[in-house]
């Protein structure tokens, strides 16, 4: 293991310490400068491309936002229409007032001598309400 490590360390050291001729040569520097000048004159196609992509994404997001807003509006409107057009829950007092004479008359006919008239009346009324 130690021997293997030595091989690697030695190889890296030899590569690192290898003699390198002084450079870069002047002609390489000049060629690089002219290449850089050429490259800097070229339009930055990558940047334009990415700008186009961002704009497309923003457009897509805009239309998505519109669809989402329309959906929310539809849901709210539907809820409001449903709420307004729903039948009102029956008013117990009104119902009681409307039915009371008829039920009272029935009970009087059925139990003319009953003392617990109020109890019977409540039971009957509750039954009628639950049937409705």
């Amino acid at each position: 293991m130690v021997e293997d490590k030595d091989i690697l360390e030695r190889a890296a050291e030899v590569l690192k310490n290898e003699e390198i001729p002084p450079g870069p040569p002047q002609e390489v520097v000049e060629a690089t400068i002219s290449k850089l000048a050429e490259a800097s004159e070229q339009p930055s196609t990558i940047q334009i491309g990415s700008r186009i992509r961002i704009r497309e994404r923003l457009k897509a997001m805009n239309s998505l936002n519109k669809v989402a807003a329309a959906a929310v509006l539809l849901i709210v409107a539907g809820y409001a229409v449903g709420r307004l057009s729903a039948p009102r829950p029956p008013d117990i007092k009104e119902l009681r007032a409307a039915l009371e004479p008829a039920i009272r008359q029935d009970l009087l006919n059925e139990h003319p001598t009953s003392r617990s008239f109020e109890r019977l009346w409540s039971r009957r009324f509750a039954r009628i309400c639950s049937m409705r």
Binding site: L8, A11, I20, P21, P22, G23, V28, A39, S44
Partner: protein
């Protein structure tokens, strides 16, 4: 506006050394030198460069590794001496010099055979003396990932060097 003449003057020798050390000849090093600066120009258009020295070292290493990979994919050399253009050494012993040149050529070949990111981490660590944190910053990876990549690269290189040594024996 970036003054590329000044940057080449300032960092050119470092880039040249990185390129030449990995490629071992003038022609390839010159190509790598040019590609490195053109890549740096493109990079500087996309984002602000905070450390030109580290960026150029990373780009030069990456371009040189690309060339090594192409080179060793194109030809499988029978002997490593063919690719090696010797530089005058102060070593007094020709045998030792030959052995060192052979080892250098072998390491270049093995670096070219490593997965690119592992090769890059190995070179930045061993040849450019970058810290794990610097390597991680340059390659946009975590410090842990840099450590793992370096460990793998070392393991592969060690194994390959061991096999080569056994073959020579």
């Amino acid at each position: 506006m970036i003054d590329w003449n000044t940057i080449i003057k300032e960092h050119g020798p470092g880039v040249w050394q990185t390129a030449y050390r990995l490629l071992g000849n003038d022609a390839d090093a010159a190509d790598c030198f040019q590609e490195t600066f053109v890549s740096a120009l493109r990079f500087s258009r996309r984002q602000r460069v905070r450390n030109f020295s580290a960026l150029l070292a990373r780009l030069a290493t990456a371009r040189a590794i690309d060339q090594l990979r192409r080179r060793f994919r194109r030809v499988q050399p029978t002997t490593d001496f063919d690719d090696c253009i010797g530089v005058e050494s102060e070593s007094p012993c020709p045998q030792e010099q030959a052995a060192q040149q052979e080892l250098v050529a072998k390491v270049r070949q093995l670096i070219g055979e490593l997965p690119p990111q592992e090769a890059q981490v190995f070179c930045l660590r061993y040849l450019n003396d970058m810290s794990y944190r610097q390597i991680a910053e340059q390659l946009s990876i975590s410090t842990n990932s840099a450590g793992v990549l370096l460990h793998r690269a070392r393991a592969r290189l060690r194994e390959s060097l061991k096999l080569s040594a056994q073959e020579l024996e």
